[in-house]
């Protein structure tokens, strides 16, 4: 939209000098975000080549790209990415489902909230990474403990988001439900949850972000594959290019998953009277 608008106003511009000046800025909307990183990479590359910084610890972008390319070609990148994404996926599904369910129940019932919310808030105060040793003792070193850790990280923002969203539902709409004699569960499903939907989706997005944060922690605690493993491996074997390649892969994966979540949920919010944030 913005793009089309910019182009349209450009076309309508009669002065040639003015259009020349504008041309420099007439990039597609998404391209603006690349300007700074690209300049930074060029500067970095030149610094390494000129010997200003040491390439051994600060590998040049070309070197990182090469590593990334090699990892991709050998299939390793796919294996590690798949391992990480499946962990995040499982943990996110588990944590988001639990957060939504418990958040909705606490939001709908004052009694349940009074019993449960203080305990959940207390648990939230514990940094989730602190659970790692216990999870390993309880659930072993393999997948289960990792997925549970990620789920625990995802749970809290989703729980808080759903609870807050339900608490802020317009009393006037709830009254419509009462006027139509809805039962308590019908009130939850037909008024409270739909009204809370936009905030729920926002909370899912922050939950997903945290899921990616926790997958790194989970893979640090001992994994034979996954992007987190690439990070540890890169550190232990002194391969900063591999660390940076893994970080880049994390950035791309995280952004892609978030974009997919937005894309999947956009139809649910078609009724909203606001400009939806671009990805």
């Amino acid at each position: 939209m913005t793009e089309a608008f910019a182009n349209a106003s450009l076309a309508g511009r009669p002065s040639k000098a003015a259009s020349k000046f504008r041309l420099a800025l007439a990039l597609p909307a998404w391209a603006y975000g690349f300007i700074l990183p690209v300049c930074f990479c060029v500067f970095w590359e030149m610094s390494v080549r000129a010997g200003v910084v040491q390439g051994r610890l600060m590998p040049a972008p070309s070197r990182v790209a090469e590593t990334l390319f090699n990892l991709a070609r050998s299939g390793e990148l796919l294996t590690h990415s798949a391992a990480t994404v499946s962990r995040v996926g499982a943990g996110f599904a588990l944590g988001a489902a639990a957060g939504t369910l418990i958040g909705a129940i606490c939001g709908a019932s004052f009694t349940v909230r009074r019993f449960l919310d203080p305990a959940i808030q207390a648990l939230r105060a514990i940094p989730s990474i602190a659970w790692v040793p216990l999870f390993i003792l309880w659930l072993g070193i393999f997948e289960t403990s990792k997925i549970v850790l990620i789920a625990a990280g995802v749970f809290f923002p989703v729980y808080l988001g759903v609870l807050g969203a339900i608490a802020s539902v317009d009393r006037k709409l709830v009254e419509v439900g009462r006027a139509f004699r809805l039962s308590r569960s019908a009130l939850v499903f037909r008024i409270l949850l739909p009204a809370a939907l936009p905030e729920w989706i926002t909370s899912l997005r922050s939950g997903l972000g945290l899921g990616f944060m926790f997958v790194v922690a989970a893979e640090f605690m001992g994994a034979s594959e996954g992007l987190g493993y690439l990070l540890v491996d890169g550190q232990q074997l002194g391969k900063p290019d591999q660390i940076l390649a893994a970080i880049l892969a994390f950035a791309v994966l995280g952004k892609t998953c978030d974009a997919m979540l937005v894309l999947l949920t956009t139809p649910l919010l078609a009724w909203q009277d606001r400009v939806r944030d671009r990805l």
């Binding site: 006037k172 419509v176 009462r178 139509f180 939907l197 009277d273």
Partner: protein, 247 residues
Amino acid sequence: MLVIDALSKVYADGTQALARVSLTIEPRTFVMITGKSGCGKTTLLRLIAGLDQATSGAIAIDGKPISGTHHAVGIVFQEPRLLPWLSIADNVGFGLTHLPKDERQTRVAEALRRVGLAEQAKRWPRELSGGQQQRAAIARALVTGPKILLLDEPFSALDALTRADLQDQLLTLWQESQTTLIMITHDVDEALLLADRVVVLQPQPGHIVADIKIDLTRPRLRSETSFETTRRALLAALDRPLVELDR
């Protein structure tokens, strides 16, 4: 028949909104409740709707006492209060989910046609004008076939032209459906143009000071002499000081 017997309401902060209000409303009448702000008219309506609990007194429909919301009572609020995530058709069908799908669709389509929104069935509420939204809200309340429809200043937020339009439509809907209408207004002319009966409340605490039967034939015209006479009587009831009324 709706019988309200010595209804009182004291809010938690101690303000008495209504004091022993009694009122008997025959079926199929159009009753307007009017009065200055703070006279308890909205409180009275919310008590009849069952959205608030009375402190004392009783409400009965056709001889059966009611407490809480009742399927025979529908309500239209001051704002349309449509659910923004449902299409207009789904909003109108909100109270019909217990019916099979075809019957629901038929009744929704019929209700939409009657309020002139057949074309808007698939739109979101936000895409409609204020007047259209309020019409959808009226359709939503009427589609379940309530014996009594309560309306809380439903047209107060609309411009004069839209309001006149909706007043006409409401009159037609009422004559077709033969429901009892109890509507709050602070607009004397609106009361005179539409109602069979106007109940005037006075505040501190809310009580009935006048109950005026309006015998004017419909359609009513503001220019008629009888209209003006009734208007004066009503205005007098609204403005008369409390001391004089207690006598």
